[in-house]
């Protein structure tokens, strides 16, 4: 087994990149990450994208990204797990290096949801639900997140105002992140006055879809950060038959296995980036990572606890860059551990990434250390 290190990192500002094709945008960021790594020879490229076919009518994106950079004769793989594609691509790439097959590989996440209209974005996002038993009837991830939020708030006797603290914290964190999409502070009133999307969830509970690309270079030689543990887990239970709606099973399992592999406990985590496509998922993911007891995260926020979660601003403020999200999170956590601008160095040497596809369908948890 080979050790796996992150040798290079790069990300683009998220937002509306009308002037760039998906392959170009990915190639530019990958080039930066390769430069950061000192231009090692990469033998394979893993591409995370959730919307390449639907928004940009492109399959086999890896081959075209390779063309833009003249990366001839390398292997290319596309990994798709909806908005959890980034974590899954990182996992596949890490396994390929760990196995000894490749010495160095590139991972690039890219999606351009703003290449289509907002209703079409809803169409695309809803393909992450069950096509036959959910999407057919008009069900979207937002509706499922809303039902989970209602059940969570009722079970632990919180008010919606308590949940509103999550987007407020995300906006506070994202305001100082120049890579983020929504770089402004928000007050609880802003959240409460925003339009309803699917009650109780409002516009501020939803991570806005943004174009983005991020890349890392993984090698078996020492780099900026070391991969200490990693696991991907599905939750095979259909949404309609979940025993509990106040927990992310996939995140919980992936965290448990990744922590065990890394030999860490939640107390060791100095920073975490979690998949808050909807505010409730940020809360549930942080609990699944053990950063608060089950049902206790909002109580911690209410009591003013200084949570080092989503210092980037999360999907709410950095933006929901769909399949690229997991790769952004990995770059952000590495930069937070290193104290690389725009992030201040966190107090500790271990950071965690949680990447999730759909509504608790599949999660990847990655433990990174300096």
């Amino acid at each position: 087994m080979q050790d796996v290190w992150i040798n290079g990192t790069a990300m683009a500002q998220t937002g509306r990149h009308y002037g760039l094709n998906a392959d170009e945008m990915a190639a530019r960021v990958l080039e930066e990450a390769l430069k950061d790594a000192g231009y090692p020879e990469i033998e394979a490229l893993f591409v995370a994208s959730a919307t390449a076919e639907q928004a940009d009518k492109q399959q086999m994106l890896g081959a075209y990204i390779a063309s833009r950079l003249g990366l001839d004769k390398i292997a290319t793989y596309r990994v798709e797990n909806a908005d959890g594609s980034g974590g899954a691509a990182l996992m596949a790439a890490a396994m390929a290096v760990r196995s000894g097959l490749y010495n160095c590989v590139g991972v690039v996440g890219v999606d351009k949801p703003n290449d289509v209209l907002s209703n079409q974005q809803q169409d695309i996002y809803s393909t992450a639900t069950d096509a036959v038993y959910e999407r057919y009837f008009g069900v979207t991830p937002a509706a499922q997140a809303a039902i989970m939020a209602k059940i969570y708030l009722a079970k632990y006797e919180y008010k919606y105002e308590d949940l509103a603290l999550w987007p407020v914290l995300m906006h506070k964190n994202g305001a100082s992140n120049p890579y983020a999409y929504m770089r402004k502070q928000a007050k609880v009133e802003d959240v409460l006055e925003s339009e309803l999307v699917s009650d109780p969830l409002r516009l501020y509970d939803v991570g806005p879809m943004a174009d983005g690309a991020a890349a890392v270079v993984l090698c078996n030689k020492k780099g900026a950060a070391k991969l200490l543990g990693m696991w991907t887990s599905t939750s095979a239970i259909p949404f309609n038959n979940r025993p509990d709606y106040d927990v992310l099973y996939s995140a919980r399992e992936a965290a448990e296995r990744a922590y065990r592999m890394a030999g860490i406990t939640p107390r060791d985590v100095a920073t975490a980036e979690v998949h808050d496509s909807y505010s409730i998922f940020g809360v549930l993911a942080a609990e699944a990572l053990g950063l608060a007891p089950r049902g206790g995260l909002l109580a911690a926020l209410k009591s003013g606890a200084d949570l080092k979660v989503n210092l980037s601003g999360g999907l709410k403020s950095r933006g929901n860059v769909m399949g690229a999200t997991g790769v952004y999170q990995a770059v952000e956590v590495v930069w937070q551990l290193m104290g690389k601008s725009p992030f201040k160095r966190v107090d500790g040497s271990i950071g965690v990434v949680h990447s999730m596809g759909g509504v608790d369908k599949v999660s990847t948890v990655m433990v990174l250390g300096l």
Partner: protein, 132 residues
């Protein structure tokens, strides 16, 4: 979104029209959506199982940001309804959302779900409404 696949619709008609689930012949566990193998006892012997058409509301939400197919029906009330041994997620109709309450009795109704914009195919399926 365009529903160009007639076979995709056609093969799911038993579920859409009659809520046909699967039951394990060995241990009796019921699955909706259907499984290929019983996840409880491992048996591959499964039979069709008709879900009851009455049940209880578990939770619901009023969805205001909808996919293209549903723009004319917006907002959609999406609810989780317990029908016998399983819960089913679907649209709630003929109801004022502010009067809906978890635990209340619901029944299955058969309605038009979506009209295909490209070929004019009209597709149907189950929805739920409060029991009068």
């Amino acid at each position: 979104m365009e529903h160009e696949s007639v076979p995709l619709y056609w093969r799911n008609i038993p579920a859409y029209y009659r809520l046909v689930a699967k039951r394990c012949k060995k241990c009796g566990e019921v699955y909706y959506p259907p499984v290929v193998k019983c996840t409880k006892c491992g048996s591959a012997e499964l039979e069709d199982y008709q879900l009851p058409h009455e049940g209880e509301l578990v939770e619901f939400t009023v969805l205001r940001s909808v996919p293209t197919d549903f723009l004319k029906q917006k907002p959609l009330v999406i609810g989780l309804v317990k029908l016998g041994p399983v819960k089913v997620l679907g649209q709630i109709v003929d109801a004022m959302p502010e009067k809906l309450k978890p635990g209340q009795r619901m029944e299955v109704v058969f309605r038009r779900v979506v009209v295909d914009g490209k070929y004019g195919l009209v597709m149907y399926g189950y929805k739920f409404r409060p029991r009068p």
